[in-house]
């Protein structure tokens, strides 16, 4: 029993994956993505109001990209066993379900308010 728990302990650390250099690279990527968001919000959209409909999907895409980098590298999920990664990611489908249901519902609320 003790050897087993030792084994789990030892391998659980997963030493491969994140070096100091890699950490600063990911930090740079996150900062650049945030910078792009600010450029869209402060420079591109104020000059061209028509671009607003492209801005929101762009924000959401960039946010999901940031979320991927944080979860995959900072939270180390990319280097964990596939079973663990799936058991965390697959339940997120429920959240997508709730988004679909409630956005649909909110369109109905607009009609009710008219």
């Amino acid at each position: 029993m003790s050897t087993e728990s030792h084994e789990v302990h030892h391998d659980g650390g997963e030493h491969e994956g994140m070096t100091k250099k890699k950490i600063w690279q990911i930090a740079l990527v996150l900062s650049i993505i945030t910078g792009i968001e600010f450029i869209i919000a402060l420079v591109i959209v104020p000059g061209h109001p028509d671009y607003l409909r492209f801005a929101n999907p762009a924000y959401i895409f960039l946010t999901l990209l940031k979320a991927f980098f944080i979860v995959a590298y900072f939270m180390h999920l990319k280097f964990e066993k596939i079973g663990l990664a799936l058991s965390i990611i697959v339940p997120i489908l429920f959240i997508i379900g709730l988004i679909l249901v409630l956005t649909n519902e909110s369109h109905h609320w607009i009609d009710l308010r008219r």
Partner: protein
């Protein structure tokens, strides 16, 4: 006696054949992951409620008009600057957290300690900024159940009737204080947990244990707090 073992009696060593964790992760870390998953559901419910109320509203306060002050420096005219500072503080404190985890892999006690201190300082700075932001909105008249008067409210919208503006400004205020408050509460507990872990690092608890796995577990929580902020930032300040 034959020593040959029939195929069916062979001890299987695949990840799912028992005797060890198929996830190859220590128990406490798996539990932290599942706690974070449940927390993700809570935050999603809040943010999706916000989204559906906003979708169904005819007007909504314009973010670049509501959030345009830098407390202590500029009363107005600087949209997104202050929240940009807050975002970078939280990203940086996330970076110092991973660096603490990385130092923990090398059992470098001193490095873990200083990176944890950096993370705690970042957390307190973020909380301070949050308090200034709340204070600013409160003095403008926003709170749970109250909004500024019509004259001030007019300047926060791009269009809409007085009644519609009043209604959605109230929705905005309730959602903003609830969601950023719940996130701020997570940051606060995160800072407290980080302090406890840092004290343990200093006392050599993990050095004796031979592993800095606890630092990794609180690290997961701290990154999750950063992750939620990424979404709060987008949906309250950008969209």
């Amino acid at each position: 006696m034959s020593t040959a073992v029939s195929q069916i009696d062979e001890v299987k060593t695949t990840p799912w054949s028992g005797g060890r964790s198929p996830f190859n992760v220590e128990y406490g870390k798996i539990m932290m992951w599942f706690f974070l998953l449940s927390d993700a559901f809570t935050f999603s419910s809040l943010l999706i409620s916000y989204g559906s109320l906003r979708f169904s509203a005819s007007v909504w306060p314009a973010a670049d008009k509501v959030f345009q002050s830098v407390p202590g420096l500029f009363e107005s005219g600087k949209p997104l600057v202050f929240v940009g500072i807050m975002t970078f503080i939280l990203i940086l404190s996330s970076v110092t957290m991973v660096l603490a985890v990385e130092a923990g892999h090398r059992n470098a006690k001193k490095e873990v300690f200083w990176w944890m201190i950096g993370t705690i300082v970042g957390g307190f700075m973020f909380l301070g900024c949050q308090a200034l932001e709340w204070n600013h909105l409160y003095h403008e008249g926003f709170w749970w159940g109250s909004t500024p008067g019509h004259e001030e409210l007019k300047h926060l919208f791009n269009s809409g009737t007085e009644a519609a503006q009043h209604l959605t400004a109230q929705e905005f205020a309730n959602l903003f204080f609830t969601i950023t408050g719940f996130h701020g509460f997570h940051v606060f507990t995160g800072v407290i947990i980080n302090i406890i872990i840092t004290v343990n690092v200093l006392r050599g608890t993990y050095e004796k244990r031979g592993t800095y796995l606890m630092v990794e577990k609180v690290g997961l929580y701290w990154h999750f707090v950063d992750l939620v902020w990424v979404f709060v930032f987008t949906f309250f300040y950008l969209v």
